[in-house]
Symmetry: C2
Subunit: 332 residues, 2 copies
């Protein structure tokens, strides 16, 4: 596959959704502000400037447009989804004790953890106000359930880390919480607001779910198999942080007694020494864990593309299909 | 006023609302659980066991019953309100770096800040799911706005602390955020779900707002004027934490140049020495700041009682009126 072609879906989506995306950006800037508490616009301006790809709101707009929607609520829901995402980023940075995001210092570092927790709560409340304005109970039900899945997944990740009993089932649940639930809800609410038939709404959900899982598995694979310069990530960060991601889970599942001892020492007990990352990589290669992880990422991307088959033909449908290829292109 | 009489309103409310309160407790226990993340039931069980007076859900049930409501949604909304409250407590403990709440170690101490942040988010999501089940957009609008007021107030409190420019207007906004907004919303949604006429819904809101403000002003006064054994609080905690509450704001507003220097050193710069609390108390007494604060608490309690006048006669109405006396009885 030619990388120059598949690199384009995100930009093509941004172009076809340009007017609506401009509306989303304006709405985000307006609603992130606070009359009363000056700390809020300081923190949120930092986040808005940091930009990001705005992938999630684009999914909502894409789903709505593909289903023929022409009203104002898609823009509101797209901003809602971005608010939820931004709120979770603020709280994640506190939980992960992160110092950088998107190449800039995090809010918890620039201000403090308190501000990150409370401004995150504020953004949740703002997202909640925005979705109420759409007047759709169904939309609120979807986003309430997604919020519960997100926070359950985050708590699960907390307890699953450093625990060798974490299997692929638990990993998938964590991934749904941290990535796929909001991708799926973003697509689903776009279809719902457009009044799409039930089978299409289900397909939109399935696409978002599979896209999010493919994206996250690819991301976790890059931690062991990526180009540091291209990804901006250091090889082995997850190993050093003792995170049970798919490549490691696959190697642990096939470990013999001696190898198991290695994993217990480095992951459960956290007693890591020089050369341990190299040994971990050797074990992952020995059991084909990296290739198997790559295959899983590709399988989820294929599921995402397949979900689109039941939707009516539309230029956006092709871009979403290309997007599914794109999120795994980094590991192929 | 005989304290033995006015001490009873809370218990009388609990008795008349007994059946519904049992329903609320069952619902809270059921919905706080999580199938997937074992840390969640650990933390929430700790919170449920800690009990608390469940004042906020009682307000919702009281408002609904007083307005003749007999359906299931009042119980759901009461549990919703308690979830929102519990979520804010979890996040507050992280923000305040608290070690104790209700005489027990806080969740952030027993587990970690991460768990408190994420389980708080989970409870917000659960509250959101519960209110969606009532199917009332108006209720969601009220609770979305209350959530925004709460988090704005919390952020404002963060930046208002240690800042001598904090005046009574800012203080009132902080108090609305930390206490009154949820009291008011708890009352209001009870009336809305019962289909009460608009003027009554407004009165219910006004009662909750004034009750919350009276309660919080009394609480802040007790920090300087309370009986340590009865309140479980140490005299002067707010002074040591450099919080700008009403008694201090009133003394600062009337300070001469030398006194202002004292406040700048102790509150803004935080350079406190032995004897400073005594000097702060002397200045508050000098300007009658404690008595003026007491008068404000009583005035808000009177406003709460007056708001009830427009509501139809009902045994609960009398109990709510007594409750307004009760929250300020501690300082009278």
């Amino acid at each position: 596959m030619d990388k120059s072609t598949i690199a384009k879906p995100h930009d093509r989506l941004a172009e076809i959704l340009g007017e609506d995306m401009a509306g989303v950006n304006t709405l985000i800037a307006t609603r992130m502000a606070s009359q009363h508490a000056p700390r809020i616009p300081e923190v949120t301006a930092h986040l808005v400037e940091a930009g990001g790809k705005r992938l999630r709101p684009m999914l909502t707009l894409a789903a709505a447009k593909m289903c023929g929607y022409e009203g104002d609520n898609a823009v509101k829901l797209a901003a809602t989804v971005e608010f939820i995402h931004t709120a979770t980023l603020l709280h994640d940075d506190v939980v992960d004790e992160s110092a950088q995001r998107r190449g800039r210092p995090t809010a918890n570092l620039l201000w403090d953890n308190k501000s990150s927790v409370l401004v995150g709560d504020y953004l949740f409340a703002r997202s909640f106000q925005l979705m109420v304005e759409t007047g759709s109970l169904r939309v609120m039900d979807i986003l309430a359930n997604a919020s519960a899945t997100i926070s359950e997944g985050e708590v699960l990740q907390l307890t699953a880390a450093q625990d060798l009993a974490t299997d692929e089932g638990i990993y998938l649940q964590v991934v749904r919480g941290k990535t796929a639930a909001l991708f799926a809800a973003a697509m689903e609410v776009g279809g719902v607001i457009a009044g799409a038939p039930e089978d299409q709404v289900q397909s939109l959900f399935d696409y978002g779910d599979a896209l999010g899982i493919a994206f996250q598995i690819a991301d976790d694979l890059l931690d062991y198999d990526g180009d540091t310069e291209a990804t901006g990530k250091n090889i082995g960060d997850d190993f050093r942080e003792r995170k049970l991601t798919m490549p490691l889970i696959k190697a642990v599942a096939q470990a013999d007694a001696e190898e198991r001892g290695f994993w217990v020492r480095t992951i459960e007990k956290g007693r890591q020494e020089d050369g341990d990352l190299e040994e971990a990589m050797r074990l992952m290669h020995k059991y084909g864990a990296l290739d198997a992880t790559r295959a899983e990422a590709n399988a989820w991307a294929a599921r995402a593309r397949a979900a689109l088959d039941t939707l009516p033909p539309h230029p956006i449908r092709g871009m979403l299909s290309d997007l599914a290829n794109y999120v795994v292109a980094r590991v192929n």
